[in-house]
Amino acid sequence: MTAFSRRPYLLSVLVLLPVVLFIHLHENVAVPQVRSFDEFPASLGDWRQAGSETFSAETLDILHPTAYLSRFYVGPNGERVHLYLGYHGKGGIHSPRNCLLGSGWFQESRTEKTVNNIDGSPIHLVETVLSKGNVRMLMLYWFQMRDKTMQSEYALKIQEIINSALYSRRDESFVRISVEFLDDAEGAQKAAYGFLKAFQPVTKMFVPR
C-alpha cells in the first residue's frame, strides 16, 4: 500500500461499519418482573415478616433497581434475618463490594459455596462474614440471571454478554440474606441457610425465566 492508496480507508470503513450498525441496531429489551414484590409472602413456614425497609432517594440513585424488596423476617427460634432482593430489568447490578467495604465494614472471610435447592438445582453463592466494631454479619449473596446463579461480578459480566448477544436481554437479580450476630457464628449460619431453604423456591418465582 502506497501513501496515497485508497485501500486502507476502504478496509477501515469495512471494519468499523459493522460495529456502528451493531451498536445502533442491537438493543436489549427491558424485561418486566414476572410478578410484583408486593406479592412476596409475609410469612412462610415458621418465618414471619418483622419489618421492612424503604430506601432513600440517594440509595436508590446508586442502586438503580427496577424493583426491590428489603425485609426482616423472624424465624422459629426468634432469629432475625434480613432479605434483600434487587431486580434489574435492564442490568446494572451494584455489587455489595462497592458499598459495605467502604463504610466501616471489614471482611473477615469469604467463601464460595454451592448449595442445592429443593428441586436439586444448584445455587452458587458467596458466604461472607463482615465485622464493624463488635457487630458481625453473616451474609449469603448471589447474582441471578434467568436460571443461572453466579458468585462473582466477573461471571455476571460474562453472563450479561451471553444473554445480551443471544436473547437481547440483560435482566438480572441480586439476592442477599444477612444475619447480624455477636459471637454465635454457627447460629447465624444455621438461621441464614434455614431461611434460604425455606424461601428459595419462592424467590425463584420472582425471577423471569
Binding site: 501513501a3 480507508y9 476502504l10 445480551s164
Partner: protein
C-alpha cells in the same frame, strides 16, 4: 518515543508523502472514517464527560485531553513531516478495538467501551498513516487513558487497602503525639468527632490525577527512562503521605483547636491543600531526579 529524523525509517516504502499531503488528497475518505467514529462514540463520549462533571473522583478528566492536545501540538512539526506508509497491522488493531467496543457494549462495561476509542484511534493511525506517524502520536494518544474513569471493581480493590493504610498510620501517629483516638476499620473516632477515611482521603482520588500529572511531567523532563518511571511511581507514596497528613492535621485540630475548625479543614480546604502539597512533592521529586545523573539525552526533551 524516540523517533529520530523522519526520513531514516521510511526507506522501505516507495512513495514519500507527508501527512499533510496525504490528508489533503484523501480528505473525503478521511471524513467518511471520522463520520463512522462519531457514529460509534456519539453516545459514549458525552456520557463520559457527564461523569467527569458529576463525580469528583473523575473531574481531572477535563484536563487530560487538553494536556494530550498540548503534547500533540508540540509534535506538530514532526507529525506533518512524518513519511506516510500505511501499515496493514493497523487493521488488526482496528478489529481488536471494534471487538472491545462490541463486547463492552454487550456487557455495558463502560471502561472497555471508552478505552476502545484509544485502541481504534491507534489502529486507524497505523492503518492509514503508518508506523512513523504512530510513533509521533503514540504518547499523546495513550495519555488519554487517564481521562477514562477507572472501573468500580478495580477502584474498590485499590481504594479499600489504601483507606485502611491511611487510617492505620494516621491513628498510630495521633496516638503517638497523645491524641485520644479509636479506630474501627476506616472510621476514626476522636473525642468530639467521627472521621471517616472516605474515598477522598484514601488518596485514590488524588492518586489518579497525580499519576497523570506524573506521566506528563516525566515526559517533559530531560530524564532517562528508568528515572521517568521512578518519577511516575513516586506519585503513589506521595498521594498516600499527603492524605495521611490530611487526617493527622484534622485530628490535631480536633484535639487542640475545635471540632468545627477540623470539620472546615477536613471537608473544604483540605482537599485542595493536600493536592497542592502532593503536587509540590511531585515537582520536588522531579527536580531531584534531574539533579542526579538523570539527564543523559537532552534531545529527548519534547
Amino acid at each position: 518515543m524516540r523517533s529520530r529524523t523522519p526520513d531514516t525509517a521510511a526507506a522501505g516504502s516507495l512513495a514519500y508523502a507527508s501527512l499533510a499531503q496525504v490528508v489533503s488528497r484523501r480528505l473525503p475518505e478521511l471524513c467518511l472514517v471520522l463520520a463512522l467514529l462519531v457514529a460509534l462514540y456519539a453516545g459514549i463520549i458525552p456520557e463520559m464527560v457527564r461523569e467527569w462533571s458529576q463525580n469528583e473522583n473523575n473531574s481531572h478528566g477535563f484536563i487530560i485531553p487538553l494536556i494530550a492536545a498540548y503534547f500533540l501540538w508540540q509534535r506538530r512539526g514532526r507529525l506533518l513531516d512524518a513519511p506516510v506508509a500505511p501499515n496493514a497491522a493497523g487493521l488488526l488493531v482496528l478489529v481488536l478495538g471494534g471487538l472491545m467496543l462490541s463486547l463492552g457494549y454487550l456487557a455495558t462495561e463502560y471502561f472497555t467501551m471508552r478505552a476502545s476509542l484509544i485502541v481504534i484511534l491507534a489502529g486507524l493511525t497505523l492503518a492509514l498513516f503508518g508506523t512513523q506517524t504512530f510513533r509521533v502520536v503514540a504518547f499523546p494518544l495513550f495519555f488519554l487513558v487517564f481521562m477514562i474513569p477507572i472501573p468500580m471493581v478495580i477502584y474498590n480493590a485499590v481504594a479499600f487497602p489504601l483507606k485502611l493504610l491511611v487510617s492505620n498510620v494516621s491513628v498510630w501517629v495521633l496516638k503517638a503525639v497523645g491524641v485520644v483516638v479509636l479506630r474501627e476499620g476506616n472510621i476514626i473516632m476522636l473525642p468530639d468527632m467521627v472521621l471517616e477515611v472516605a474515598d477522598a482521603c484514601s488518596g485514590i482520588r488524588s492518586l489518579v490525577s497525580l499519576l497523570a500529572l506524573g506521566v506528563a511531567y516525566a515526559a517533559v523532563l530531560p530524564l532517562r527512562a528508568g528515572h521517568r518511571i521512578a518519577l511516575v511511581l513516586s506519585a503513589i507514596p506521595i498521594a498516600i503521605v499527603a492524605n495521611i497528613i490530611r487526617v493527622i492535621v484534622t485530628g490535631l485540630l480536633v484535639e487542640y483547636v475545635s471540632p468545627d475548625a477540623a470539620r472546615g479543614f477536613f471537608h473544604e480546604f483540605a482537599g485542595m491543600a493536600v493536592f497542592a502539597f502532593a503536587l509540590a512533592l511531585l515537582l520536588a521529586a522531579g527536580a531531584l531526579l534531574c539533579k542526579t545523573r538523570g539527564h543523559s539525552i537532552p534531545e529527548g526533551t519534547q
